[in-house]
């Protein structure tokens, strides 16, 4: 395992607490977490242990009750804009693909480039690169309904990577896929993360898949237990 230094830690959660329903449900109990540049990290643990919540907090989709979240050494509340984070620095992949069904694969993938105001030529070049890489280039004009589960999740992966974020947060990205497709998509995630130099933090129930990451972090009752170096 690479030893983390101040300079290459891209994600950090320091003593992060989070609860819902006015404190009735505590989800995170003082979580400390770090991910270094280019690392693939699997967050595992039972349902409700706080994996998704931690991912949401790391990605700036939610705010902790207490504690600090830093992305690229900048605290989230000091970050110039969460919008900038979502547009350029962080990509999300969810268990359900969360694609817009009435749009084509191509149009779904281009959404982040529209949000970020990327010029059409650059956006299409990036789209071609990613769809070639994920084997979807022949399905560009297909609507989402016509894609298989695996294709949909690969499309979601392309969409997350369109603006070349340095961090990819994946919440059970293979959770809704069959075993074979799941393994394929998972490997694709790891391959792309490696070739693009992306830091991947992924929540998963599947321990066998998780063990293929650089690091496996176990969560239980809103706490991170001993990170296990692999």
């Amino acid at each position: 395992m690479t030893s983390p230094t101040q300079t290459n830690i891209v994600l950090r959660a320091a003593d992060v607490w989070k609860s819902y329903d006015d404190g009735a449900i505590t989800v995170l109990n003082g979580v400390n977490f770090e991910a270094i540049e280019g690392q693939t990290v699997a967050l595992t643990g039972p349902s409700g242990c706080g994996k998704s919540t931690l991912l949401h907090l790391l990605g700036g989709l939610d705010e902790p009750d207490r504690g600090r979240i830093s992305v690229n050494s900048v605290e989230l509340n000091q970050h110039r804009s969460r919008l900038h984070l979502l547009r350029h620095e962080i990509g999300f992949v969810f268990q359900m693909h969360n694609l817009i069904p009435d749009l084509t694969l191509e149009e779904n993938c281009l959404i982040p480039t529209v949000a970020a105001g990327v010029d059409r030529h650059t956006a299409r070049a990036r789209l071609k690169q990613l769809t070639d890489r994920t084997g979807l280039s022949h399905r560009l004009n297909n609507r989402i309904q016509k894609l298989s589960g695996g294709e949909r999740q690969r499309t979601a992966l392309c969409r997350a990577l369109m603006n070349s974020p340095r961090i990819l947060l994946a919440d059970e990205p293979t959770g809704s896929l069959d075993e074979k497709t799941s393994a394929t998509v998972f490997q694709l995630l790891l391959d792309i993360a490696a070739t693009e130099g992306v830091t991947l933090v992924m929540a998963t129930h599947d321990r066998s898949l998780a063990q293929r990451c650089d690091r496996l972090v176990e969560m239980h009752d809103g706490r991170i237990h001993e990170p296990q170096p692999l």
């Binding site: 939610d62 817009i100 009435d102 749009l103 149009e107 959404i111 982040p112 949000a115």
Partner: protein
């Protein structure tokens, strides 16, 4: 393109809802266009009666309705004698009824009045006007609905009159009116020695200001207004126009509520989609732009459809024989513009709450339960 497609896609996704919304705006716009155009036409026609071969109208100061205006005959004679005046025609307005028609407009005029001079005489001769106290001239439409012809007698109000002429005029009110000799009208309406207005033509229209000052100095109870001035300031016209816009506005308000309902449903049914757009980097402005874009599209399509429906309806009205000449259906460009702008504003206002709601969607909450 994708931004536009997101807008179109959502409208197409719920076609029936979108069509109902568009129909709401369309019928509101059609109603507003029809009402405003008809009333503006009516105002225009009434102004036309007053400005027939004249530039200035003199009437009693501070009256709410010209039918209540009382201009003494002495003022008519005096004003007619002023050197800057080419001619001054007294007109007495009255409303009467017949057995079949509750409202018939009567014009008490002199034989030299421009209305008689400029009209096309279908029957009778202008020279006969005023020779008999019971001799009246009917507008072509009035002759039709009173089933009268030259020489026949017609019951109007509490009297019976002898039809000595039938004229055709371009003005619907005049075409459906009865023209009586001024003295007969004064007697009939118990307004001996007075008229409702004096319509005045000057030798030089640049003397209008001077003329108005003279009227003010000589007859403090009267007021002189140039035709356009009168049209702008006459309270009845203002009330009519305000009523037209208010009724049309209520229609648009209902249309706007329809748009609001559609947009609220549109936002509620795709919270997840909005959440995904947020996660993909869409800003509040972009989300709001999408919602406003949808409502603007509904409004524009609705406005165009409404304009077509309204124009069609006005054309049908124009073809109805009973309304011939009464309804001026020429649609003014400014009215079209105002109606479109109002429809757009209505659409935008209707999308205000849905847009605010959409901007407040928190992706983490929308996506928490997969």
């Amino acid at each position: 393109m994708i931004f536009l497609k997101l807008i179109f896609t959502n409208l197409l996704r719920h076609r029936i809802r979108s069509v109902i919304s568009i129909a709401g705006i369309a019928f509101s716009v059609a109603a507003m266009l029809t009402i405003v155009t008809i009333l503006q036409g009516a105002v225009g026609m009434f102004s036309g009666i007053l400005s027939s071969d004249s530039q200035i109208i003199v009437f009693e100061r501070n009256v709410s309705d010209l039918f209540f205006s009382d201009v003494p005959a002495s003022a008519v004679a005096d004003i007619a004698s002023w050197p800057i005046v080419q001619h001054a025609d007294p007109v007495l307005f009255g409303i009467v009824s017949s057995s079949d028609h509750p409202i018939i407009t009567c014009f008490g005029i002199t034989e030299s009045d421009a209305r008689l001079r400029k009209a096309t005489w279908i029957g009778g001769a202008r020279s006969d006007f005023g020779k008999q106290t019971d001799g009246v001239v009917l507008g072509e439409r009035a002759a039709e609905f009173l089933h009268s012809s030259i020489g026949s007698h017609v019951a109007i109000g509490h009297g019976t009159f002898h039809v000595i002429g039938i004229i055709k005029t371009a003005n619907g009110f005049e075409d459906g009116g009865v023209f009586m000799p001024l003295k007969s009208a004064q007697a009939f309406f118990h307004k001996e020695g007075s008229s409702s207005v004096i319509t005045v033509k000057l030798h030089d229209k640049n003397d209008a200001t001077k003329f108005k000052a003279m009227v003010k100095a000589k007859f403090p109870t009267l007021v002189a207004l140039e035709d356009q001035e009168f049209t702008r300031s006459y309270s009845q016209f203002k009330i009519l126009k305000a009523t037209a816009w208010a009724v049309g506005g209520c229609g648009l308000l209902l249309g706007g509520l329809g748009v609001a309902n559609t947009m609220i449903m549109s936002v509620f049914t795709r919270i997840r989609e909005i959440a995904i757009l947020r996660v993909s980097g869409f800003s509040n402005l972009q989300i709001a732009g999408m919602i406003f874009g949808e409502s603007a599209l509904v409004s524009v399509i609705g406005a165009i459809t409404g304009l077509l429906i309204g124009a069609g309806f006005l054309l049908v009205l124009k073809l109805v024989p009973a309304l011939h000449g009464y309804v001026d259906v020429s649609i003014q460009a400014v009215v079209v513009l105002i109606v479109i702008v109002l429809a757009l504003l209505t659409g935008v206002a209707g999308a205000l709450y849905p847009a605010i709601y959409a901007m407040r969607v928190r992706p983490v909450e929308a996506l928490r339960f997969e």
